[in-house]
Amino acid sequence: MDLFEYQGKQYFARYDIPVSRGNVAVTVDEAVAAADAAGYPVVVKAQVQVGGRGKAGGIKLANDAAEVRTHAGNILGMDIKGHVVKRVWVENASDIAEEYYASFTLDRGAKKHLLMLSKEGGVEIEEVAATNPAAILMLHIDPVDGLNAAAAMKAAIDAKIPEKAQQGVADILVKLYRCFVEGDCDLAEINPLILKPTGEVHALDAKVSLDANADFRHPEWEEFKATEELDAREKLAREKGLQYIGLEGTVGIIANGAGLAMSTLDVVNQVGGTAANFLDIGGGANADLMAGALEVINSDKAVKSIFINIFGGITRGEEVAKGIVEALGRVDLRAPIVIRLDGTNAEEGREILKNAGIPESKLTSKPTMLEAAEAAVALAK
């Protein structure tokens, strides 16, 4: 789950990472109240999960209430690369002497935590990585050892952070690491991490991605979930407990298992079609799940055909078939189904489908993944 900047800053504040005084606002009046409380001058920042906000006019400096009114009025409702701005973050403006970069993530290859620290922050870090990789310190941290104050200080020195900022950077690294580990982040990133003319080091931005698997031990994440930006199809799928990602194509996909679902997308693409979604129905493809999945797919007006790709391992073919028949009784589908049912008891399953009295215009069965994909794509054209 990706957090908005203001949520990331609120999350950082829980771990004593210094952030600017400010508040979030959904109306112009709230923005002015937030600015009054934060103290002028303030920065009004669009809260969208996409890069390039500044260039799009989504970040503005305001010296008084009238300017806040103007900028907040312009930014709220603005469309930034397809993301409509629903909230602004209004914070006390900081004077900046220098800009650095710091992040923690998990390096899957090394199976260790990875600190990236650079004295060249404030710009896209990919650009620094491409043009001047030596400017980024990459340090692996054993999750069993963690990161102590001495190691953080050494990292600041090795990254050639100027001496006057080393202690402040090291302090923040220790706190950010705690936030990353105890806060169950996939990513905790500060860009820019600034040095003020007065000597303090401070997080001017926050990019935080949380590990959904750790949800059970973070009741404080509830408020973040409320603001998650999902399209209508994704919302419906989540309510039904399905793994769903909306796409732009015309063939609706239902498969059991993430790998098979991905593979199904590939095969549809190979035979000249486009997938409308990724949907993993999981291990137990029973009638309730199948009905839920069909409802979600049915809510997508772009869908012209539905490809159900089930491989029975533990899930037995006849159970899947019964589930589909029952689901068809509950959901009135706009698009025809092509099914490929393979694996354990697939024969029995196909027999059930054949004898269920469903007209062929609504459901056809194909013996292999490729043939089923071809049939589904033909129906979608």
Binding site: S103, R108, G109, A258, G259, M262, L265, G313, I314
Partner: protein, 299 residues
């Protein structure tokens, strides 16, 4: 021969009294696996259809001499269960639990590496391992695995994805090609066993004559495997990578993008494997057909 597990492997099930543990534990036993005990704290002294249950792994190991464990406990308890098994002398741990926090996985893996270097963890979030006709630990339906033939050639399977592992087994069964061992390593961020670990074992196993590898997008495990194959694997291989058309991952921000450094796309992985001499199919069926050609050439 087979890799990691065979007919002599004695297995305990941590979580045998739970719904999943009971279902799969009994299925594994019915397949012929030596499932010798279950472990559930507080339920010691009871039994599940004749399989004795102990309060701790140490007690179960002491009573049965088991060396392998099948961990099927909820995400909150899985890390502790894995470490308990390692401390009790289990050397092969299969964890099918889905949904363990990444931070827990990272800490558990590195604790095993440091304190129990002889222990192998398979998973978490994997379908398990089957050496057909000998031993099945996990959730694979044994009947879709073709038995290895005495004169060969037999194929080893290693896969990152659950259902595609079954698909690979099925493709070989359809063609009557025997399987030495099929390992599902799981798709979580910190898998205990990597492609390379399995490839090394398959290369050394005299009963394995060719290898199928099933990968997917994300990370760089397939690229690392390709490097290993180039230098160390002489047995012929076919492969499939899922996710050519999958949408770009939304999960990671800038930091992730740099770590992968252009690695992680299906195309990049397929290119790396081809460059290592692996025959790469566009879908699982094609990977199966390519393997059938390889096997025909070995006969």
């Amino acid at each position: 021969m087979a890799i990691f597990v065979d007919q002599n492997t004695k297995v305990i099930v941590q979580g045998l009294t739970g719904g999943q543990g009971k279902y799969h534990g009994l299925r594994n036993k019915a397949y012929g696996t030596q499932v010798v005990a279950g472990v559930t704290p507080g339920k010691g002294g009871t039994d599940v259809e004749g399989i004795p249950v102990y309060n701790s792994v140490a007690e179960a190991v002491g009573a049965t001499g088991a060396t392998a464990s099948f961990v099927t406990v909820p995400p909150k308890a899985a890390s502790a269960a894995i470490l308990e098994a390692a401390a009790a002398g289990i050397t092969f741990i299969v964890c099918i639990t889905e949904g363990i926090p990444a931070q827990d996985e990272a800490r558990t893996y590195n604790t095993l590496v440091r304190d129990y270097p002889k222990v192998r963890l398979l998973g978490p979030n994997c379908p398990g391992i089957i050496s057909p006709g000998k031993c099945n630990i996990g959730i694979t339906a044994g009947e879709i695995a073709e038995l290895p033939s005495a004169k060969g050639p037999n194929v080893g399977i290693v896969s990152r994805s659950g259902t595609l592992t079954y698909q690979a087994l099925y493709e070989l069964k359809q063609r009557g090609i025997g399987v030495s061992t099929c390992v599902g390593i799981g798709g979580d961020p910190v898998p205990g066993t990597s492609f390379i670990d399995c490839l090394r074992e398959f290369q050394a196993d005299p009963e394995t004559h060719a290898i199928i590898m099933i990968g997917e997008i994300g990370g760089s495990a397939e690229e690392e495997a390709a490097e290993f194959i180039k230098a160390n694997v002489t047995k012929p291989m076919s492969a499939y990578i899922a996710g050519v058309t999958a949408p770009a991952g939304k999960k990671m921000g800038h930091a992730g993008a740099i770590v992968s450094g252009g690695k992680g796309t299906a195309q990049g992985k397929m290119d790396a494997l081809r460059a290592a001499g692996v025959k790469v199919g566009q879908n699982p069926t094609e990977a199966g057909s390519l393997m059938a050609e390889i096997v025909a050439g070995l006969k």
